[in-house]
């Protein structure tokens, strides 16, 4: 501790030299800190950028994508970029205070889905904030049943619900994982009108809790992810933990871009068998419902246009170089860059379509 150091030093006042050294150290470090400001003066972006994310987990997919993107941006623009996992409410509050680009947010579809489900703390991001570029997709969102389950496919589940069997689906309420549940319910209502009440949500939290519900027999099907559950699907059938994929919610053309090795010992080919059209959850009787979990930047409403342009340009160059794609794909993300104007239009449409689905099933 510094206080102790100083105290002991001062006992021998002849050692003023050391104190002087300490002072020089103090002054020089401050100078170093301040002079960081000056280096990147030619870029409209501040030299210290904070990337806040809508998740509090530093082990989750949002943090991972953010770390990869922030790192690439920092190298490209020669700035410091730091990812802070503050959670949705604090992240929105932070960007609301910063219009010079010193704080930007990275999050996924939850940012508007939360609002559509009426979750506290989520406002209409298309009105209150500015949408930045999209960067990547996590195609791993999936639904699983125990290997011993009588239901082998997602169609079995829909059929069973249509024939008055109660299907309990473990999800985290109000989030992107709840969307799959809503879509499943919608598919039942399209194919067996009036029977959608047989699909019931078991509201729970972490992946651990969802798995536990399946082991306990308190859920028939759980929401999970390819990343977290793939090994469970390879356990011998007599293991109480063994599971089977029935549905992967990502779009076919997204999943097709994954590395052919897929994830773990499950190849891309095998994964595609659980996505549309092989595993069909209908939206309206003709078209299948599919959903990509997309990551994008969110800015302050009044963010300076030159900063927006600078970030678009930097990301466009990063994606043109092509190394970020390999990094993303290695972690089972699908690179998906769209500049901010295009991203805003695209996400707004996605928002409106999702709103229709949620309003119908409410």
């Amino acid at each position: 501790m510094a206080a102790e150091l100083i105290f002991n030093l001062s006992k021998e006042t002849s050692k003023m030299k050391k104190i002087a050294v300490g002072l020089c150290f103090a002054v020089s470090t401050i100078a170093a800190g301040i002079s960081d400001q000056a280096i990147a003066a030619d870029s409209p972006l501040p030299s210290n950028v904070r990337v806040v994310i809508g998740s509090t987990s530093t082990g989750g997919d949002t943090y991972q994508v953010s770390a990869i993107v922030a790192d690439a941006l920092a190298q490209k623009l020669r700035i410091n970029a730091k990812v802070d996992a503050v959670g949705p409410t604090a992240a929105f509050q932070a960007i609301a205070k910063s219009d010079d680009g010193s704080t930007i947010m990275l999050f996924h579809d939850q940012s508007y889905v939360g609002h559509l489900y009426g979750v506290r703390g989520f406002s209409d991001i298309f009105k209150e904030y500015k949408i930045g570029p999209t960067v990547a997709i996590n195609p791993g969102d999936s639904f699983l049943v125990p290997t011993k389950s009588p239901y082998k496919t997602v169609d079995d589940l829909i059929q069973a619900a249509g024939h008055d069997k109660r299907i309990r689906v473990a999800i985290q309420p109000g989030g992107t994982s709840a969307l799959g549940y809503t879509a499943l319910k919608n598919a039942v209502s399209v194919r067996f009108p009036g029977k959608e009440g047989n699909v019931v949500a078991v509201n729970t939290g972490s992946q651990a809790d969802k798995n536990q519900l399946l082991f306990d027999g308190n859920a028939d099907v759980i929401n999970g992810s390819v990343q977290a559950n793939e090994q469970y699907t390879r356990l011998p059938a007599d293991d109480q933990k063994a599971m089977r994929f029935v549905w992967i919610t990502a779009r076919k053309q997204t999943l097709e871009q994954a590395n052919p090795e897929g994830l773990g010992q499950t190849s891309r080919e095998q994964l595609l068998a659980f996505a549309t059209p092989a595993a069909s959850v209908t939206l309206d009787g003709t078209k299948d419902w599919a959903f990509d979990k997309e990551f994008f930047l969110i800015y302050n409403k009044d963010m300076k246009p030159e900063v927006v342009a600078a970030l678009d340009k930097a990301l466009a160059e990063i994606y043109a170089e092509g190394t970020i794609q390999a990094t993303l794909k290695k972690s089972f993300f699908i690179p998906n860059f769209m500049p901010s104007a295009e991203a805003e239009k695209y996400l707004k449409e996605k928002n409106d379509e999702t709103k229709k689905l949620i309003d119908k099933i409410r």
Binding site: R120, N211, G264
Partner: protein, 507 residues
């Protein structure tokens, strides 16, 4: 085997050492935790390969958990939530002039707990993981209830202690019913206009260091910040450390390490419960429970061996189910996924070399932790000779850094420090007991989720008794714990009556 030896180079052990030392630093600073140490160093591992990255992170984990004992013993501020119980007997030992002895006991116990849990992890991980998943909502609720009943054996006045504990639970429920735990995201207890700051309630760490750190500074300020004359603060005026202090403590070491490992193994129960359970069980089994709280080495041994027992325990579900056992291992998952390694039920079988290397790293980190701290202790202990007018501003700044950093930069967490500093300062004057309050606060949210979800899933109250043999066994433990507390309070009361008047309010 070749893969193992090619990774076990000098760099590997240097990284373990570096991680351990940085971890100890984070653990020793009030408000900084092992989780934070792992989180801030995670980006550094991008440049390393998996085995070298894990070396650094395992060192950080072990060092961070161990470092918490230093401020707990020396200045009565737990460096991490799991070292709360270390203050109970560690700080009294310092006051008795035995800071060095207390630190050495703590470090040696940490080493034992760490190695014990590493051994359990190595030999029984998959078996124990299969057993751990038998704990559903119901059993987890009962474990937490069990941990809550130990409040009764930790408090001075039973009624006031339980009141403080319930108050702690109540405060922990402020804000929304957390959706990420399966709640419905609705606000309760606090009014709408406060939801900007209190939507997610108070954070544990700022609350903890407010109650233990700031309130002590306020209390000293009230008394006029008088430094004891320098002669009184002798580092070794009491008895010196001797290994013989562990004589007769073997049962305590094994019991406490096992409790730590076991609690670490159950995802969602919360690591801080481990040291609380271990401390109170040791007290209950002891021949003279009256000595606890006055500087009894057995208290430090129980607390520290159990919180290091956590490390191996929390790695069990991580490496054999892909599910983190505590908040620190939740961050470790990130290190695996960034390297493209999946953790799940097949991890150990498919990554034999990584698994062996991790075990070596874990053992090495524990040994290095012991070596570094044991020989640095003489210098660390000098902190207590620093005059308070220089020490307190420094502590205050560290608390601010820790509080601000805990949720990656939220100013309200710094205000939480102040609010609970004041609360602790005034509360203790009114007889409120801080330890039960904080235990209630820590366990409250999990108690709620597991209680409500049990009823939601099963729809009947009887399920708490009929769910499984494990549930029945836990009820037996709860009954023994409650019964014993009542018995020992009665005994203490009759002692008191002989001695004369009691005191509750006139503190």
């Amino acid at each position: 085997m070749d893969a193992i030896f090619s990774s076990l180079d000098v760099t590997y052990f240097l990284l373990v050492s570096l991680g351990t030392i940085i971890g100890i630093l984070f653990g020793a600073i009030p408000g900084m935790t092992a989780t934070m140490a792992v989180a801030v160093c995670l980006p550094m591992t991008y440049a390393l390969d998996l085995n070298h990255g894990l070396a650094l992170l395992l060192g950080l984990y072990v060092g961070g958990i161990s470092g918490g004992l230093v401020p707990a013993i020396l200045i009565n501020i737990p460096g991490t939530p799991s070292s709360i119980t270390t203050t109970f007997d560690g700080y009294p030992m310092t006051k008795n002039g035995e800071p060095e002895k207390a630190l050495k006991i703590g470090i040696a116990s940490s080493l034992f707990g760490g190695l014990f849990s590493a051994a359990v992890l190595f030999y029984f991980a998959p078996t124990l993981a299969d057993w751990a998943i038998k704990f559903s909502y119901v059993e987890k609720f009962l474990i937490i209830l069990f941990a809550l009943t130990v409040i009764a054996s930790l408090c001075k006045s039973m009624l006031v202690g339980i009141f403080s504990g319930v108050l702690g639970i109540w405060v922990s429920l402020f804000g929304v019913y957390d959706m990420s735990k399966g709640g419905n995201g609705e606000l309760r207890i606090i009014p709408e206009f406060m939801s900007t700051y209190l939507e997610n309630g108070f954070s544990l760490l700022p609350l903890l260091i407010g109650l233990f750190g700031l309130s002590v500074i306020f209390d000293e300020a009230q008394k006029g910040v008088r430094d004891e004359p320098a002669d009184n603060v002798k580092l070794t005026s009491g008895r010196r450390f001797q290994w013989s202090v562990f004589m007769g403590q073997f049962a305590n070491l094994i019991r406490s390490s096992s409790i730590g490992t076991f609690v670490g193994m159950l995802p969602g129960v919360g690591g801080s419960a481990a040291s609380v359970l271990a401390y109170s069980q040791t007290k209950n089994f002891s021949k003279d429970p009256g000595k606890f709280g006055t500087g009894h080495p057995a208290g430090v041994i129980a607390s520290e061996s159990s919180n290091n027992g956590l490390t191996g325990g929390a790695l069990i579900p991580l490496l054999s189910l892909g599910i983190p056992g505590d908040s620190t291992t939740a961050v470790l998952i990130g290190a695996f996924t960034l390297q493209g390694i999946q953790v799940g039920p097949l991890f150990i079988g498919e990554n034999r070399a990584t698994w062996d290397i991790m075990m070596i790293g874990l053992v090495a980190a524990n040994l290095i932790m012991f070596g570094v701290m044991y020989f640095a202790i003489r210098h660390i202990a000098k902190v207590i000779t620093v005059p308070k007018y220089l020490l307190y501003p420094g502590i205050m700044m560290m608390c601010v850094v820790g509080a601000y950093a805990i949720n990656s930069g939220i100013m309200f967490d710094v205000w939480t420090l102040f609010i609970f500093g004041l609360f602790g300062f005034l509360g203790t004057k009114l007889g409120l007991e801080i330890a039960p309050f904080i235990i209630g606060f820590i366990l409250g949210p999990s108690a709620e989720v597991y209680f409500v979800k049990s009823l939601e899933s099963f729809g009947t109250l009887t399920i708490f008794f009929t769910k499984s043999p494990i549930a029945v066994f836990l009820w037996v433990l709860i009954a023994i714990s409650v019964g014993y507390s009542i018995y020992s309070t009665r005994k203490a009361k009759s002692h008191e009556r002989h001695a004369g008047n009691g005191e509750a309010f006139a503190k």
